[in-house]
């Protein structure tokens, strides 16, 4: 069992309250997933730079002068913003692979949570309310965000095993369920050159979608083909730079409720997570159909090919 929440704003006047609304939804889902929690938040896109969100078990030591040292290695200027065990590094847009290689040398214990123009991922082990408090999630702003409360089944309770997972620029995925063919698929994707950091089943799901899109599929097509290629139970919620998608496996035993108003599209594992949203009394509330791809975007259609 796990809990998923998601909020995609159509009305940007709600942006300043995105973190507050998502945090309330996340904490409501504590009894579906009390062992870890995480949130992916899409804030203002950086101007031509890439944000790398990193995590360390010893942030004081690891983050001291990290931006300077990374800047020296990359021959450019890097800025960093520290938030508890996480820090966001701002690097030139085309230097992610070089930065990942440099980080592995200068800070081998620092882990990469996400990269992208607007995406930041914060996740830790602990009760959702404690995780939310340590990162001040309720103060965050943005256009859309996805949260997850975890009750682990397929891999250990660690920071790296928490959701959301990021395997490509501005892409993230959270999962309720369990995949049964993740080991063979992980081997296949690694052979194909996709970077997978953990033994977690969900990261394989995320990497699978990234790999499909690397090979020309749109997000909508990647989600469609996941129904064929992934074996197991899943309700997935995915985020892209300006979009938000949902798909459930054909058996659909993992719960899902959606609500839509003129102001937002919201996702919850249970209706409880949605009850405090503005205007929920008059929202269109429905259960997403099995084996059906849903997608909302500010600019894109789900069938647009990856550039």
């Amino acid at each position: 069992m796990c809990g998923i929440v998601g909020l995609f704003l159509k009305d940007q006047s709600l942006s300043p309250k995105l973190g507050e609304m998502l945090t309330d939804m996340l904490i409501t889902m504590t009894d579906r997933g009390p062992d870890s929690a995480g949130i992916a938040i899409y804030g203002d896109p950086s101007q031509g730079t890439t944000k790398i969100t990193v995590q360390s078990a010893n942030p004081e030591q690891d983050f001291a002068s990290l931006a300077d040292e990374l800047g020296q290695r990359l021959n450019t200027s890097v800025t960093q913003t520290i938030n508890d065990t996480h820090a966001v590094l701002d690097i030139p847009g085309d230097q992610f692979e070089a930065a990942r290689a440099a980080l592995a040398e200068i800070r081998p214990t620092v882990r990469i949570m996400s990269r992208g123009e607007s995406l930041e991922i914060y996740k830790e082990v602990g009760l959702p309310k404690d995780v939310a408090a340590r990162f001040n999630l309720s103060g965050m702003t943005g256009t859309h965000g996805i949260g997850h409360t975890r009750m682990a089944t397929e891999s250990a309770v660690t920071t790296m095993g928490a959701h959301p997972f990021n395997t490509g620029d501005d892409q993230c995925l959270v999962h309720n369920g369990s995949l049964s063919n993740h080991n063979s698929l992980r081997r296949k994707l690694r052979r194909e050159g996709v970077h997978i950091q953990t033994e977690n089943d969900t990261e394989v799901g995320a990497a699978y979608l990234t790999w499909k899109m690397m090979n020309g599929a749109s997000l909508g097509e990647a989600l469609e083909s996941s129904l064929e290629d992934l074996d197991g139970f899943f309700t997935f919620v995915v985020g892209t730079k300006d979009g938000f998608g949902v798909v459930r496996d054909p058996i659909a035993c993992k719960p899902a409720v959606m609500a839509e108003t003129d102001q937002y599209v919201a996702f919850g594992s249970e209706y409880r997570a949605l009850v405090n949203l503005p205007g929920i009394e008059d929202a269109r509330v429905w259960e997403p159909e099995p084996a059906t791809v849903y997608f909302w975007s500010h600019t894109d259609s789900p069938n647009k090919k990856a550039a």
């Binding site: 719960p255 209706y271 259960e287």
Partner: protein, 227 residues
């Protein structure tokens, strides 16, 4: 009319209070305010009382009901009226998966749609859905009636025993051993009574009846290669 504020006074208090009502209670009418999607609202009741829930609920609303009438003025999460023995449960909105699962008796009415596995393993309950139902509904159903005024999803009535399934709209596919059957006068009578009690104006003649082909009751040696 007694009013119970679930947000202020808590779930355990609600169920303890409702379960304490005896057959001779004078407090026969209750309303529950601020349900906010909570789980296990009004479960295990065993008295002829009427409970109205003013909003949507989470998992297992009105489970194990006997005698009581529970009405939800909203939608319900998974497992509404699970294992109902008698009484009535009426949902004004939609129901999530396995509505009425394993129910032995009583009437479950869903005014909206029900999702997957509606009436799974039903054992005598009557279920009337005004809208559509999802896949694998009435899986291993043993007794009772499932009436669907809209359409049914994939694998309706898979591995069915003896329940009667009535569907007015389309059936996406029938499950193993479920077949369409002749609608005889006695079936039209059962259907008319259920539609009346469920407040539906659908005509019994518009429905088709499905039931068990009874081919899975005994092991067929010709199928041994399939195992």
């Amino acid at each position: 009319m007694q009013t119970y504020d679930l947000e202020a006074d808590g779930l355990r208090g609600l169920n303890a209070t409702l379960q304490d009502q005896s057959k001779e209670t004078n407090q026969t009418s209750w309303q529950v305010v601020n349900p906010k999607g909570s789980h296990a609202i009004a479960v295990g009741l065993d008295a002829p009382i009427e409970v109205t829930v003013k909003g949507s609920t989470g998992y297992y609303c009105a489970g194990m009901n006997q005698q009581a009438t529970v009405r939800v003025e909203g939608s319900v999460g998974p497992g509404v009226a699970e294992n109902m023995m008698s009484g009535q449960v009426i949902v004004d909105g939609d129901a999530s998966q396995y509505a009425g699962a394993t129910g032995h008796g009583g009437l479950l009415v869903i005014k909206g749609n029900a999702s997957s596995r509606c009436g799974i393993s039903m054992k005598g309950i009557d279920i009337v859905v005004h809208g559509n139902i999802g896949h694998m509904s009435a899986f291993m159903a043993q007794a009772g009636n499932l009436v669907v005024c809209g359409d049914a999803g994939d694998a309706l009535g898979d591995s069915l025993y003896e329940a009667r399934l009535f569907v007015r709209g389309s059936v996406k596919s029938l499950g193993a051993d479920c077949i369409e059957k002749e609608m005889r006068p006695e079936h039209l009578e059962i259907l008319k009574d259920l539609l009346d009690r469920a407040g539906s104006d659908a005509k019994p003649e518009e429905f088709k009846r499905y039931g068990s082909a009874r081919q899975l009751y005994n092991f067929d040696v010709d199928n041994s290669a399939a195992y």
